[in-house]
Amino acid sequence: MKNKYKILLFMFALLIPPIIRNEYYVRIVNIFYMYSVVALSINLIVGFCGQLDMGRAAFMGLGAYCSAILTVKMGLPFIAAFLISGAFSGLIGAVLGFLCRKSAFDYLTLVTIGFNAICQIVFLNWIPVTGGVMGISRVPQPNIFGFHFDTNTRFYYLALFFLAASFIAMHRICNSRMGRAFEAIRDDSIAAEYSGINVQLYKILNFAIGSVFTGLTGALFVHYTQYASPFNYTLDESIYQLQMAILGGLGSLAGSLVGTFILVVLPEISRSFYEYRLLFVGILMVVMMLYFPNGLLGKEGVGERLIAVRLGMLGGKNSRKDSGG
């Protein structure tokens, strides 16, 4: 039943470019698809495993630079560079996860922020490799076995495929033993430990898997924009990406797509919204945390509340908040 809808949705997505036929809109949708995967990976780390990672843009940057360097400077074909970048980013993620496997919550957040800062400085200053402030321009467009994804519309199908594949993969992961282990760690890592879950190993795995997806997205993105610049991978960018996952719902994969859609598409529709987007993001973060801590589509989200209202069950909803005394 549910899968039928998903397939219908996918079929509809296939038809989007011929329907809208506007290169600009197609570009926005492409960017929305790619950011969706980043939001999914953030969701995997923050939403499912409860590790507040604020440095996702660094991994996007690692993937992007890795792929740009492999194709531009070493002449590797796109698909090889793309896959290597994912593996590279995942490896760095695993190393970072290994270092932080015992770290408490705040330290992990600080380490990810620090890692983001370090990556940006390295991108900016390791000139022989990263091109410094000028970055790497003229990154080739994706080319898979002779087929060039050189227009927005062609790229659309690549991005759609990438999103669908990532979504399915994430879905599988989250509904496996591993996914349940992540959730157990998020809810109570001590209890998880006693239930026989190797908490440290799963934390590392979680970081590594999330980083593979972030890195792959970064690589795809750089082949789309054809330019790797250190100014694209800042802390502000990380927090904006984090917000995409939060808005839709931590712990809800479909929610990540909704959150990303709102934060990528709305600013393009309204210029005044664009100007105030960061203020809006701030207000949203607070409001979401106060009223929908698990996001619009997550637990206690809009859907469940509507049902609750309909069934007249909303009473006592706020009891949790008053326990502060």
């Binding site: 705040d106 400085i121 960061l278 203020l279 106060l290």
Partner: protein, 290 residues
């Protein structure tokens, strides 16, 4: 030149210390990663700028800024943190990030990203001691940091509110059972944190004679957080020593290693430190007391 680098590091460190004291107090007591601390006091400092530009005497303007910092932080606590106080770690932290964004963008909308000269009339002079230069303002800032540390320690030890704060840092339910007015006390902690932040921020601005939006997050929250982790979360002594160590590290790395990779190296040192000694040099003094 080594001595001069040492003095430079101490001066930067004592500026950081002033900010870290307020930050670490809230951090230690409520274990909330207060991302908004810097941006809240930055708004307070901009209020001072606004008042000074409007022609009000600097002392009154600073008082106005301190009061606005106090009120702002109480409001923030009341509306953004109180109801998520018991919702785990992720939820309140994200709420705090949200508050930081609201404050920062409010500043950006009103004052923009430019740097303004901050004319407060604190005129420091330079003392030349055998080739080494020490600014009198730097000495005052150092003294201010130490005295704030002492005053707040005394406040926590000797007053009823202070004892209530310490009780809350140990266990909120127990404190409530013992008759500590939890919400009011936490409000006061935030208020003091905000007021201290503005004082620190103003001295920061006076030290560089300028004010810009970056004093909030990049130079405020982040540095205070780093210093708190080096010194020990929740420890006032740790806050001061951690901040001074951070200042020394920055100054030595910039002076002897590389300015290009300065921030990266400072972060690397900090990350290594976290991995080796996560509890900091002075593990929480407040939590262990009584």
């Amino acid at each position: 030149m080594f001595l001069q680098h040492l003095i430079n590091g101490l001066s930067i460190g004592s500026v950081y210390a002033l900010i870290t004291i307020g930050y670490n107090m809230v951090y230690g007591i409520l274990e909330l990663l207060n991302f908004a601390h810097g941006d809240v006091y930055a708004l307070g400092c901009f209020v001072v700028l606004g008042l000074v530009t409007a022609g009000i005497h600097p002392i009154i303007a600073i008082l106005g800024g301190v009061v606005s910092g106090y009120i702002l932080n109480i409001l923030v606590e009341r509306f953004a943190y109180r109801s998520v106080r018991f919702s785990g770690r992720v939820t309140p932290t994200i709420s705090a990030v949200g508050v930081a964004y609201i404050m920062r963008n409010a500043i950006l909308k009103i004052w923009g990203p430019e740097t303004y000269p901050m004319k407060l009339g604190f005129r420091g002079t330079q003392l030349h001691l055998g080739g080494i230069v020490v600014g009198t303002l730097q000495i005052y800032i150092f003294i201010a940091a130490i005295s704030f540390m002492v005053i707040i320690s005394l406040f926590l030890k000797k007053t009823k509110i202070g004892q209530g704060i310490i009780a809350i840092s140990q266990s909120i339910p127990t404190a409530a059972l013992l008759g500590v007015p939890v919400n009011r006390t936490i409000s006061i902690v935030y208020g003091i944190g905000g007021a201290l932040g503005v004082i620190g921020g103003i001295l920061f601005c006076a030290y560089y004679d300028t004010i810009f939006v970056g004093i909030g997050f990049a130079l405020g929250t982040l540095k205070a957080w780093m210093a708190a982790i080096i010194g020990g979360v929740g420890s006032l002594k740790g806050a001061v020593i951690g901040a001074i160590m951070l200042g020394l590290i920055e100054s030595m790395v910039a002076g002897y290693v590389s300015t290009l990779y300065k921030d990266a190296l400072v972060w690397l040192i900090l990350i290594t430190f976290i991995l080796i000694r996560p509890q900091g040099f002075f593990p929480s003094q407040i939590a262990e007391k009584i």
